[in-house]
Amino acid sequence: MSAASDVGHHAQRQARWHYGEIAFWLIVLACGFAFPTRYLIMTDILRLALFTMSLDLILGYAGIVSLGHAAFFGVGAYAAGLLALHGIVKEPVLALIVAGLAAMVLGFATSFLVIRGVDLTRLMVTLGIALLLEALAERFSNITGGTDGLQGIEMQPIFGEIPFDMFGKAGFFYSLAVLFLLFLFARRVVHSPFGLSLRAIKNNPLRAAAIGIPVNRRLIAIYTLAAFYAGVAGALFTQTTAIASLDVFAFERSADLMLVLVIGGTGYLYGGLVGAVIFRMLQEVFSTITPQYWQFWIGLVLVVIVLIGRQRLHRWVLYVPNLIIKQIAGRKAVVAVPESEA
């Protein structure tokens, strides 16, 4: 192999599909058939996963912290609600895209505020924008329904063929399809030179500019794209629950999102997916044991994760499986710690 093709081979190392990834998606798909009574919670997890993936794009890859990501979720949610309620765009998939674009426009407009300044400024600006939108949604109750939210949303069948059923089956597979397609797109983007340049900017903006990367333009681009993702997640929320209320903008939603991403791990796309599953599971388990104090236990888990470090946790969890693989197949561990965590 020549040096150049060798380089090409190694450069694409991370972009290649691993068996673990294929297995992951097959398991997710299998869940849709294995637990027909749990569609609602599973749909909820998928939405959260998509929403978290959006935060991962800006935080995990580009290093933009946000405490107001619910702003885009909320705009997507209300946009989808209004489109369906007034029959402007009846077909759900089309409405989903339009709602995502609405959030994207907001993302583009506010990106100019966010890319300025340091982490603290960004936290405050993003938080402020979300609060602002929440207040606006409350003020213009003639459009948004105010504290009552949008009521009486009736969803049309997907592609005019598949109706949303009361068990949430259609909603689940619809959400899964949207999540998977957007995941494929994000996966492609993060392994492109553009995606690599984001990681470079996160690592060292000074050097990034010194090799000719237009830092601000790249940050605006990814922030806008992430806003689209969050908007689509919000629209999915409205479409699968048929409600949109003020809490789509709530600060808790943005803050929870950060927890989910930290639990799942940043900068490898699966963090959002894994984090969403673990977060909702923990919520279920803890709220069954102690309905009042489940947040205490979530907090404890978070502190443990941050203190011990995810890398070590991964190693502990994967110790036995990797040992078995090594013994049986006599080769290196299949599942490795994502590089950005090392």
């Binding site: 020549s2 040096a3 150049a4 093709s5 060798d6 380089v7 090409g8 081979h9 190694h10 450069a11 694409q12 190392r13 972009a15 492609r188 983007v189 392994h191 492109s192 030179p193 553009f194 995606g195 690599l196 340049s197 990681r199 470079a200 690592n203 060292n204 000074l206 050097r207 500019a209 010194a210 090799i211 000719g212 990367i213 237009p214 830092v215 790249r218 681009a221 590089e339 950005s340 090392a342």
Partner: protein
């Protein structure tokens, strides 16, 4: 003679402190020009203004005759002005392969590609392979930069600057902090830069300066003290006075 890089009456103040005083430099095309001066003379401040990290209070900077005073950092790079940093500025989480690959991609205008995967352009791959082997980084190309020994990181720092294919290269103390055993690699790399690349070297190490430079400017307290060929600068009594007690000047 053509002037590759020029400053005209450059002036920079931090509060009341004048760190660059009326500095006018001319660096000829293909030159091996060294900028020396005692600690705190403002050498790095000059570099930061040349590359656009800092904005001068007044004065102009010309790259190949064109005013670049108001251009942002990344645009100067695309115009052919590239630099290394005195303290390594690398991407700790990225590998040398990714670091170089990104620099090459940006120069060739593929940096904004968001659909095509890294590693699928053969022209980019060829250049990456060439740079990695020239800078002795092939064997560590998949290691995270943060785990590399300092000497390798230093080589990567220079390789990234070269990957931008500069016509003017600013080297800010390239051998700083490199252990004696790895010094040779750095010096060899610096010495073998193509002649059509104009080099401005900022350096403390007088052996390196006098073996490398064909012209030397001496900066003291932000102002130009003297300028000339190495022999002349070495004999200059003012320069000797400045360096007396700090470093002996040997030719």
């Amino acid at each position: 003679m053509t002037i590759a890089l020029e400053t005209q009456n450059l002036e920079k103040q931090f509060g009341g402190l004048r760190v660059t005083r009326d500095l006018s430099l001319k660096i000829e095309q293909g030159a091996r020009h060294a900028l020396i001066g005692p600690n705190g003379a403002g050498k790095t401040t000059v570099i930061n203004q040349l590359t656009g990290v800092l904005k001068p209070n007044s004065g102009r900077i010309l790259l190949e005759g064109q005013d670049i005073t108001d251009l942002p950092v990344h645009k100067r790079v695309l115009r052919g002005l590239s630099r290394t940093f005195q303290i390594n500025q690398l991407y700790p989480d990225l590998t040398p392969l990714e670091t170089i690959g990104l620099a090459v991609s940006e120069r060739l205008g593929h940096g904004g590609d968001w659909w095509r995967r890294m590693g699928t352009r053969s022209d980019v791959n060829g250049e990456i392979a060439d740079l990695l082997s020239r800078f002795h980084l092939l064997d560590v190309m998949n290691e995270q930069t943060v785990t590399l020994p300092y000497g390798k990181q230093r080589l990567l720092e220079i390789a990234v600057a070269i990957a931008a294919k500069p016509r003017v290269l600013l080297l800010d103390e390239p051998a700083a902090g490199v252990p004696e055993s790895e010094r040779h690699d750095i010096l060899a790399v610096v010495g073998s830069l193509p002649r059509d690349v104009t080099v401005l070297l900022i350096e403390h190490d007088m052996d390196l300066v006098f073996s490398f430079a064909d012209r030397i400017s001496v900066l003291v307290s932000g102002a130009l003290l003297t300028e000339g060929p190495p022999e002349q600068v070495a004999r200059d009594p003012q320069v000797k006075a400045v360096y007396l007690g700090e470093e002996a000047v040997n030719v």
